[in-house]
Amino acid sequence: MKHTISVQLRNNPGVLSRVTGLFSGRGFNIESLCVAETMDCEISVLTIVSRGDAAVIEQITKQLHKLIDVIKVTDMAEFPYVEREMVLLRMKAMENTRAEVLRIADIFRAKVIDVSAKTFTIEVTGSSSKVNACIELLRPLGIKEIVRTGTVAMARAPKNK
């Protein structure tokens, strides 16, 4: 099963290598990985999407927590959460497909962020499934290049009554 794991860590040199080394050394899988500083420049949050049965995910979270630089590990499956990823797509903009590309982009609330005589560059943001759906619809119209960020996730704020 797919799990999104959020890891809060001390922003020390080599810390990313500790995390990726742990995954490769123990044969855990990484589908995507995103990392950047938080409001506190000494702390980063890293979001990993991984796959595995319950025992594997349990080991992943425990092993991550065992790293000295890791402050907190959250398996997002335990809470309601929101997740987003972004993709940049360079589309062929042919005479006969231009309108269709823009229409699909519009349906997915994607933005055209760069235009040339023969291409559109489109930014799509959403959950992985939405991004995937958009890519699948655009694929027949001629994708020249794709760059994806990987998922970032955040637990939903508690709803006050």
Binding site: R10, R18, G25, Q59, K66, I68, D69
Partner: protein
């Protein structure tokens, strides 16, 4: 305030941390620190190879429980230490390894003797550091010692650029250590303790399965209290030997691949397995799906990752083993309505069953009339002639297993062996570390003719510092354990395992200024050991043993632990 150099600060800090002995090897990048050490009130043991220095620090840590310290230079000095670091990591031994590094301005430039040792050792240290500013030097070293000795102990490496060692600064005052990301859980959860105690009361056939964690936590007295209180039989892993007296009737000896028949049968048949400071290693469990299938499992361990890693645990207790065992003992002491006498009596039929297994297949070996030396005989004689009161280190292979099977360890921290990594060449330098810690004790390295050659150069270290360690080579002219596998599983194709050229170990000992003794017949064994034990020098004993003697019992790799090949 007078400014200090980085080197002076390191020495001051080592003293603050209680360090008295440093095992090391000099070299370009670390010369400034050795220069300062010349005037310092610290004992320096200079090995003959950096691997030896790290193993010696490791051996020192295992027998004392203190943090061992190794000091190496940059580049090849540091990489030579890696096997030592990985050995300590696998067995959770607290050591701090200080390595020299090229000056900061040269890092990343492929400078002479530069290597990214922090990158190389990331997967085999508990944590490691490159000191990148002089302000960080002292706090980093304090953290290093704290991390090495607390929680599940382990090696910590601190890489020290040359210009940090020579920099001048004000030595910072000691501050409370704040490490929000590192808070090992040492106190057991009372509800888990209660659950465990209730499961113990319910059990008719309980087994205590005890590992190195009990020794690391100095919990042997609490373990003995629990076993006596409830009459629970104990089996130990290789790393756990000595945690419970080997001569006690409740001791079933070691379990697993070369464990006793009764220990493996007891684990297979028990209804409650109480694992304390052990990690369900594959050499212990054999085929996982057949391991302790009838048992409820209690697992006490300080490291949450060890719990439910290989075997599903019913009642986990994440805590320091000593605190957890104390809490369990306390529960039984204070709980009203529990008749301990009845509890003990309730386990008596189970104990009798175990005794029956022991009688059926005791831990034994076959002697014959030929007069050829059996290795088990040598180990039994060592046990007898030292009265069991010796620190035994081992190399890895058959020598290690025979030592584990036939020496009766009655005290913790008297058996020093590379369990997890299985490092040949460990025993001799580890013996050096142990003898440094306890100059008055008898320290014996039980070795094979293959593994002793892996760090034989450390004979010079032992001689230089007047460390009268004894080495018993069980010499079968083979890499015996691999040969045994070839005999049993590879159609007796003895390839790569015969030691076709061996040095004359007696002459070799003499060349180092040590004493060399040889026994080729069983009748000579006792006199050789006696002579060695009464010699105040390094002694190398060359026992020419039966060449194709095997270690039994044996559970073939991947088989259930009840499928033992017996003597």
């Amino acid at each position: 305030m007078k400014k200090v150099t980085g080197a002076e600060a390191i020495i001051k800090l080592l003293k603050e941390e209680g360090v008295s002995t440093i095992f090391g090897y000099p070299g370009g990048a670390i010369t400034d620190l050795y220069d300062a050490l010349m005037d310092a009130d610290l004992k320096n043991i200079i090995a003959r190879h950096e691997q030896g220095a790290v193993h010696a620090a490791d051996g020192y840590a295992r027998v004392t429980g203190d943090v061992g310290v190794a000091l190496l230079t940059s580049g090849p000095g540091a990489t030579n230490g890696v096997t030592g670091i990985a050995t300590a990591y696998c067995d959770s031994i607290p050591i701090v390894v200080l390595t020299g590094q090229v000056p900061r301005a040269l890092i990343g430039n492929d400078a002479f003797q530069e290597v990214d040792i922090v990158g190389i050792t990331r997967p085999c240290t508990k944590h490691n550091y490159l000191v990148s500013s002089i302000e960080e030097l002292v706090p980093t070293l304090r953290e290093a010692f704290h991390i090495a000795r607390s929680g599940r102990p382990g090696p910590v490496l601190v890489d020290l650029p040359k210009d940090i060692i020579t920099a001048k600064f004000d030595y910072p005052a000691k501050k409370a250590m704040v490490m929000p990301s590192y808070q090992p859980n040492i106190e057991p959860h009372p509800r888990q303790v209660e659950k465990a105690c209730k499961a113990i009361i319910k059990a008719k056939c309980p087994v205590l399965y005890v590992g190195g964690g009990v020794i690391l936590a100095n919990a042997q007295d609490d373990l003995i209290e629990l076993t006596r209180k409830l009459n629970i039989p104990v089996t130990m892993t290789l790393m756990g030997l000595g945690a419970f007296p080997g001569t006690d009737p409740l001791s079933m000896g070691m379990l697993g691949m070369h464990g006793s028949f009764c220990a493996n049968m007891a684990v297979a048949e028990c209804d409650l397995l109480i694992a304390v400071g052990a990690r369900f290693d594959d050499r212990v469990t054999g085929k996982l799906s057949d391991f302790a299938t009838r048992a409820k499992v209690i697992h006490i361990d300080i490291d949450p990752t060890s719990i439910s890693k290989n075997v599903r645990v019913d009642i986990p207790i994440v805590a320091d083993c000593r605190n957890a065992l104390k809490a369990i003992n306390q529960w039984f002491n204070t709980q009203s309505g529990i008749n301990l006498e009845e509890e003990r009596a309730c386990h008596q039929p189970w104990f009798e069953m175990i005794q029956k297994w022991t009688e059926q297949h005791p831990m034994t070996w076959h002697d014959d009339e030929s007069g050829i030396i059996k290795p088990q005989y040598v180990v039994e004689k060592l046990n007898e002639l030292t009265g069991g009161d010796a620190i035994i280190t081992t190399e890895v292979g058959q020598n290690q297993m025979w030592a584990a099977q036939f020496f009766k360890f009655n005290k913790a921290r008297h058996f020093v062996t590379s369990g997890g990594l299985g490092t040949m060449g460990f025993g001799l330098p580890a013996a050096i570390g142990a003898q440094c810690a306890f100059p008055e004790k008898t320290v014996i390295d039980i070795a094979g003719d293959g593994s002793i050659q892996m760090n034989i150069q450390e004979l010079a270290t032992a001689r230089q510092y007047h460390l009268p360690i004894k080495i018993a080579i069980l010499n079968n002219n083979y890499l015996g354990m691999v040969r045994q596998w070839q005999e049993l599983f590879y159609n007796r194709r003895y390839f790569a395992t015969p030691m076709e050229v061996l040095p004359d170990f007696v002459d070799l000992a003499k060349a180092y200024g040590a004493v060399g003794l040889r026994a080729t017949k069983k009748s000579e064994v006792e006199s050789v050991i006696k002579e060695a034990l009464s010699t105040d020098n390094v002694v190398l004993m060359d026992f020419r043993i039966a060449r194709e003697e095997n270690v039994y019992p044996m559970v073939p790799a991947g088989k259930a632990t009840t499928e033992m090949l017996l003597v």
